[in-house]
Amino acid sequence: MKLRIIALGGLLLAAHTTPALAQSDGAGAAASEPGTITKPPKLVKFVQAAYPQDKHDAGITASVLLSIEIGDDGKVGEVEVVKGASPDFDAAAVAAAKQFVFEPAEIDNQPAPVKITYRYDFTIVEELVKAGPQINFEGVVLERFKKKPLANVSVRLLDVGAPGAPVKGVTDDDGHFAFVDVPPGPHKVELSNPKLVTQTTEEIIAFGKKKTVKYLIEEREEGVDEDVVVRAPRIKKEAVETSIRTEEARKVPGTQGDTLKVVQNLPGVGRSAFGSGALIVWGSAANETVINVDGVEIPSLYHVGGLRSTINSDMVRSIDLSPGSYGADYGRGLGGLVKIELAPLTKEGVHGYFAADIMDASAMVAAAVTPQLRVGVAARVSYLDRLASAVVSPDVGDFVPIPRYDDYQARATYALDRDAELTATFLASDDHLQRTIPSDDPNDQRTQTINSSYKRLILRYTNLMPDGASVAVTGSAGFDQNDETDHFGANPIGLTQHTWQYALRSSYRRKLSQGFILSFGVDMQAHQVALTREGSPTLPPREGDITVFGQVPPEDGGSDHWNVMLIDTAPYATAEITIGRLSLVPGLRFEPTLIEGDASLPSNGQGTSPPIGYARFDVPGNPGFLSKAPNPRLAAAFHATRRLTLTFGGGIYGQPPNPADMSPAFGNPTINMSRALHVSGGVGYKLTPTLSLEVVGFYKRLFDLVSRNLSPYPPVADALTQDGVGRSYGGQVLLRQELLRGFFGWVTYSLIRSERLDHPGEGWRLFDYDQTHVLAVLASYQIGHGWEAGARFRYTTGVPRTPVIGSYEVGPGEYDPIFGAHNSIRIPAFYQLDARVERSWVFRRTKLNVFLDVQNVTDRKSPEEIIYNTDYTTKGYITGLPTLAVLGARLEF
């Protein structure tokens, strides 16, 4: 399963100084189909616009940004002015664009209608008075490694000249070649020589300018069939895939323009506990879903409270959410997988934005310093806490705990050559939350302080090799801090976790023959964790705890400090096989993990029992006799018809132990890896090119889950056990209309049941975040004149809770609850209507967007949690947000 959002905003606005396809690679801008763009549209007939004579005489130039619909036959459909200059310029540009002819785009190798953004520049080029034939495309061809000039290399422009008779030339002894009067526009260039690997590339020839290139090509390997030396197109590795464009994601009501928050409205994703932002996918706990940025794991997708994502949306190119059944190149999680791909930085000029709303302000600037070097920085700072304290009474700040968050990103990309790139990325996120509930009774005063942060420095090298292979090497180092200290009166409860993380991921992918692509790599990761904990063993709470909201923790507690190191080196291999209509992606992943700690028993405090460490290997085992073999993964898709696709996916997955669980005093140092089996199958049907229906069923089985030891007499260093199992199963439906004539929306419904069995001999219980029904309906419409409006409706079954059926007095004014059956009642269902309206103004080089995002427009008091009075004789519900309007603005340049 895979849900994909493609960030396209930057690419759509790619600037060109001459009329040319406003899309250098075309691979993202035209993503109106929910699949992989295997071929971008190509402009094959350009029509010069009539320059308004008075403007020409006055020397006035202009640019008109157009939105062009291209049909699956390549013909231009509707043309709209996105950013106009003046009525005469706009009309001339539209008239010309309507006469353009394209080669249609292809999605999943099928012609498909797309919409692109195109900038038509009206420039006055007086030098175009031709003095005869001009060389406007030349270059040199060098041997790739020794950089020596290569003579007698045939250079052909495949799409210029009569069909079947391309324009061609040959390099001289200096490796030089030149062409005269090549028509403006994109052209396919082929370099060939019997001793060399044939290479095909594409160049864009600008009107009135000369293009100079340098090609590095490689001598042919023995035994390699030249026919297969092409870039390997990717096929879908997941059983089901859905793509959502960033401009759609931004407009979803309730997300305040945060692209990554739209994930919470996708099929298979439960509603997170209010204020947590946790991703509950396919009935898995939030800590079972792994989040990767460019292949590097980060601890959290959202800031504390889930108000914002920790990565600037404009830095993100795509986000893939796989609720399960994902490929062999990733692991370390029993639940879902979130893959965030960072966006390439602008290739020319300086671009960016500034945005602000009542919660925070953010900005980004990116620039192409040189043709090889591109840089970008982004930052976000929250001020909701300070704003609130300024507009409400001072003591409200004590009762209203508003997190303070900020995040920063910096990025630099250096093009080593045409196909090789080195990128350095720095990510940082900080969260602070402090609240005090004062009381006249010192025993009732409560404070909570949370400081959490992560930092990542990522170095990534990518190379698209001439033989069609691709190589990516990503190294990273980072530091995570997660400190929480609470005081219930004099009773302290705290957990600090400081983690150094080092990772190295390398991959190699190559097409070996028609319909067969092989990928393999190594995914290494090391965590060095130092932890300190004090207070009651019951906090922080765990999934499966029988407790009640607001219950004062026990006053008995301990203290511990321990260190854990986890090192796992996971080689993996994946094949992408296409046999007619059938696509198969089998994979294997072997994930041996070194688990090392410094204390297997609690300190006796007397110095007579020095800490005894441990070190062991563990692997996520398979069932049966292949228990120690690599974990299998499989994704399959059968394209029964052009509209109908059947999918299947599955695999075995493992997750390393949580270092916080390995305290000899509070946990169990012998905890090993947990594992899971995922199986899913689905049907996808395209009702129209932009309207699709997907139905998916899944089953997950979880093994070796960690749960509390509920014995009154647990052995030493055995506060947690690892004999729990789990299961979740269900289905999901997605009916989705992609952006068409200004409208997009979807309806998604998930039916899920998730259960756990904590200890052998016990009965199954509902998972703490089990939500039987999850429904989301959302739509957005471009009204016109820069206005857009949208609405979202959500319904979810309330999560389970354990009822309180009585109580007994344990102190003056203090009571213990008597619980009923575990998770046998539910919080009432949640439903809410949100709305969003926005207005955009496009200026010459800037765009201003102002939005009003209104949550809970009906002011429904949705129950979010059960709360009892002191002696548990009266029950009530804490309700969620009242109507909350978030006003914001965004200025792009």
Binding site: A273, F274, G275, A285, A286, N287, V304, G305, L384, V400, P401, I402, L433, S439, D441, P442, N443, D444, Q448, E484, D486, A490, N491, P540, P541, R542, E543, I546, G550, Q551, P554, E555, D556, G557, S603, N604, G605, Q606, R708, N709, P712, Y713, P714, P715, D718, Y808, E809, V810, G811, P812, G813, E814, I818, E864, E865, Y868, T870, D871, T879, L881
Partner: protein
């Protein structure tokens, strides 16, 4: 798992930013208002006892008419500890054990020590320091020792079942056990054993009413009390005082810091009334605050008639005292 549920409360109240309204529902009368039979406190005397030491238990049983004299109470010492994973203070299993004694308003028994002979003739380990303290049970080697509270204390639960005419209620005293110091070097243990002083129940010295017309002592250990009246709907200040020695100093082994520290008890007062309403259900003084009294504001009910006050004074080592006072609310 993350600390999800506590966090959720924090964000829930973001609503207050715009509305400044509570997101917490109205859960009825506060616990400080006594509207029926209620156990307000169970007390052990002495407040801290080593295994084998005799302890006398009594309780404060009240209803809306006042303190219930000679309540019908069944008593039991519970020998079943709660799981360390149990968020309750006392194991729910302690509700199911049979009474050891009663019905009687008081109960006297030694702090459990060693073993006893069961009905089947076998021996049963009831040692308080082994079940609820830092010592591993002799019949279950390798068991995780209990954790102390922040004052270094371990507690033996003693159950009181009060069967009134209107209800059957259960309350517990958590009687502090004097056990050996755990997880400390031998020299520290020796120092601790030599210097540690058993906890003593604090005492309520007085309850004073301070209306605009001048203070009136409603309760005093000296017996010098005065009758007082309060007009219906009037708000008055009530003050509970205690002697300076009520807040004792004590030694505690700080496991995290690996240091023997001297702390001073904090004192809390839980306020109860049969009518009207307090500003706070409890108040008190922290460890560093040497003030020997604490106040609360009580608003008289609209209806005239007698009103009962109860205060329960508790120190941070589990010592308890309680007192009662009455006034008349006038129209």
């Amino acid at each position: 798992m993350t600390n999800m549920r506590p966090l959720s409360l924090s964000i829930l109240c973001v609503a207050l930013v715009t509305a400044a309204v509570g997101c917490k529902p109205d859960l009825g009368a506060p616990i400080s208002v006594v509207s029926g039979p209620q156990i307000l406190a169970v007390r052990g005397q002495p407040a801290e006892a080593a295994p084998g030491t005799m302890v006398k238990y009594d309780l404060l049983a009240v209803d809306s008419m006042g303190t219930v004299a000679n309540p019908v109470v069944g008593w039991a010492q519970c020998h079943i500890p709660k799981s360390p994973a149990d968020p309750n203070a006392v194991s729910v299993a302690c509700l199911a054990i049979p009474d050891d004694a009663g019905p009687s308003p008081t109960f006297t028994a030694p702090m459990p020590q060693g073993t006893i002979t069961g009905l089947d003739g076998g021996t049963i380990n009831i040692d308080a320091c082994q079940h609820f303290g830092p010592d591993a049970p002799s019949d279950m080697p390798g068991v995780r020792p209990r954790d102390p509270d922040v004052t270094g204390g371990y507690y033996q639960p003693v159950r009181a079942n009060w069967r009134s005419d209107a209800a059957a209620l259960t309350g517990f005293d958590l009687e502090r056990i004097r056990c050996d110091l755990a997880n400390a070097p031998a020299d520290v243990t020796a120092m601790y054993n030599m210097s540690y002083k058993l906890n003593v129940n604090p005492t309520v010295a007085s309850i004073t009413l301070s209306p605009d017309t001048g203070p009136a002592v409603l309760f005093a250990t000296t017996g010098m009390v005065a009758a007082a009246t309060v007009a219906a709907g009037q708000s008055v200040t009530l003050r509970v005082a205690w002697p300076a020695e009520a807040a004792e100093s004590y030694l505690v082994w700080n496991l995290a810091a690996q240091a023997l520290e001297t702390h001073r008890e904090a004192l809390s007062v839980s306020w109860f009334t049969s009518a009207g309403q307090y500003a706070h259900d409890s108040s008190g003084r922290g460890e560093q605050d040497t003030t020997t009294s604490t106040d609360d504001v009580w608003t008289a009910p609209a209806a005239a008639g007698p009103v009962h006050f109860w205060v329960v004074l508790r120190d941070s080592r589990g010592g308890v005292d309680f007192a009662e006072a009455s006034i008349d609310v006038t129209p």
